[in-house]
Structures are given as structure tokens and as C-alpha cells.
Symmetry: C2
Subunit: 178 residues, 2 copies
């Protein structure tokens, strides 16, 4: 499915629900995929995302070197492969090849997107001041893509030890919040 460019001002609505994401990184031709759910919005626009990545992760080195990454948001159809990505390290595995994910060139960064995900956020690292203490990277989303056919994405949400909540119905309430 061809993705459509998505307004940066609406990115918060993709991440606030708290989905498990696939973080892609690359450096010198070596790309990786990391399963992640420790992230939060930090600013609406330009969208800033705080994301915790421990230094033992293979993605840590790639991200520190290239200062770029993509946040790809999967839906439940990909759940088994998303978990498989989290069960192994990219140090000795090409996860794109092993789990059948399609690397797709990004527009503004030299990191492949995961074509199978319904939304993709191209990011640059803007602050590494909290990396040493907390593994916290501040990312700015510089370009966003979405599959326009997906309205109520059945994202997956990590409850721990193999349990994932799958996004259910959407309700509308009279909110003044963005």
C-alpha cells in the first residue's frame, strides 16, 4: 500500500496511544530493527519524542553514530514478527531479511522504513544529553507517512512477559485537549 505524507502536527495522535513500535536504525550500510515501547511525546510541533534505548542494544551504537532513526508502527497482523525482532539481537542477524520485513527508502534520512507498518516517522536525534544517565534520546520527527486506508489501527501494546493488548474500539468524547 502506498503511503501518504502525514502532517507533523498530527503525529502525537499516532504515538500517544502507546503502541509497540519498530525502531529502525542504520549506519554504513548495516540496518537494524528494534522492538520498543519505552517512548513518549515531548512536544507537539515540531514533534519531539523521547525514547529509551539501553546501551546494550545493537541499535544504540547505530543511533549514536548516525543520529537518525525511524519509528515504524505495526498492527496486530505483524505481532509475531514484532516479538521475534525483540527476541534476538541485530549484532549477528539481519532482521529485515530474517523476519521478512521490506526495507523502504526514507525521504529525509538514510535509514530504511519498514514498509509493512501502517505509519512511519522519520526522526533525527536532537539531544543526547540524557543518554548516558537514562538512555534517553530526544528525537525530532522530520517526516511522517501513513497508510490512508487504516483508520482505526489495531496496534499492539506491551503488558509484559508475552502479553499484548490489542487496540479495541475508538470512542469520542468532548475533549478540549489537542
Amino acid at each position: 500500500m502506498a503511503k501518504r505524507s502525514y502532517p507533523l502536527s498530527k503525529v502525537y495522535g499516532l504515538l500517544e496511544p502507546g503502541p509497540v513500535v519498530l525502531l529502525t536504525t542504520a549506519d554504513c550500510g548495516s540496518a537494524n530493527i528494534m522492538t520498543l515501547s519505552w517512548l513518549t511525546m515531548m512536544e507537539f510541533e515540531p514533534p519531539l519524542v523521547g525514547c529509551i534505548i539501553g546501551e546494550r542494544n545493537h541499535s544504540f551504537g547505530l543511533l549514536m553514530a548516525s543520529r537518525e532513526c525511524a519509528i515504524n508502527i505495526p498492527t496486530v497482523e505483524l505481532a509475531e514478527r514484532v516479538v521475534a525482532c525483540g527476541n534476538c539481537t541485530g549484532a549477528n542477524t539481519d532482521k529485515f531479511a530474517k523476519f521478512g520485513f521490506t526495507p523502504k527508502p526514507a525521504a529525509q534520512i538514510a535509514v530504511p522504513l519498514v514498509a509493512e507498518c501502517f505509519a512511519q516517522l522519520e526522526c533525527r536525534v536532537t539531544d543526547t544529553g540524557m543518554v548516558e544517565r537514562y538512555g534517553l534520546f530526544v528525537l525530532e520527527v522530520v517526516k511522517a507517512w501513513i497508510d490512508p486506508a487504516v483508520n482505526n489501527p489495531r496496534t499492539i501494546h506491551h503488558r509484559g512477559r508475552g502479553a499484548f493488548m490489542v487496540a479495541g474500539e475508538t470512542i469520542k468524547l468532548k475533549s478540549k485537549m489537542k
Copy 2:
């Protein structure tokens, strides 16, 4: 429903799915409730939580002064009141009274918990170094409570502009992740 003490080592499983939470604060006898979904786990144990609170929020001053807060996790039955809490400021409103939430004394902090929520996390602020730049408070969860009757909490997840995703089914996968 009487709450049961919940192991700190399992707190991540409550917050990783990304629910909207009610943050309670208090200082000098004045308590407040803030609706929030910009937060992330930062460490498993002791559990650290990063939470973004802008200085324009009434809760900001209370939190800076007392250095304590509670993260209360509501389910969908409370959705209308949760949104109502987000639609007004505590500067001139007692939100506990106005929205019919029951303040319940905490064990380790001088901030009331929201009795109606199925889980409550008592927190102390451990790092304000990123508050000025990002509004990011680092919180340590020092005590956790849960309603033992709730197994698959129907939490709500903010999609923006009045739309909330309600937690759906739980699936189990073969994950090596915590």
C-alpha cells in the same frame, strides 16, 4: 474495592501499554488532578517514569513544591470524568469534588490517590534537570496498588481531539522480553 499492594518489579506492565492516567499532586492542603498521557517507563526497578508536564499546568507548581505525585490509572467507565479533568484547570477548581473522585490517603506520600482507579502508583520526583527545557520530570515509583479483581483493564488511550482507543483483547506471544 480494596486495593492490594503490587510488586514494584511489575509496574512497567501497567504503564507500557500507554494508558491515559490521572496524575494527582498536592501541596499545603491543596490537591489537584491532571489528565496526562505523555509519559514513559525509563527503568524497570526501581521503576522510573519520565513524565512531561508543561509549566502552564496548575499541577506543575504543586509537583515542583512537594516533589511527590501519584499516577492513577482509570478504565473506560471513568472516561467522561477523565476528559472533564483535562478540560479545566485546578487553579480555580477542586477537581476531586467537582468530578466526584474520592481522595484516598497514600502510604508513602502526602498526595491523595484516586480511589476509583484500578491502579495507583505513589511517586517521588528524583530528577528535575530536564524540567526547564522539556518539562520532563523523572519519577521513582515507591509504592504501587492494584485492584486484584481487574485482570484485563479496559484502559483508555488518547488519539487526539476527543478520540480515545479503548483497550481490547489480550494476546499471548512467545516473548523473551520482560
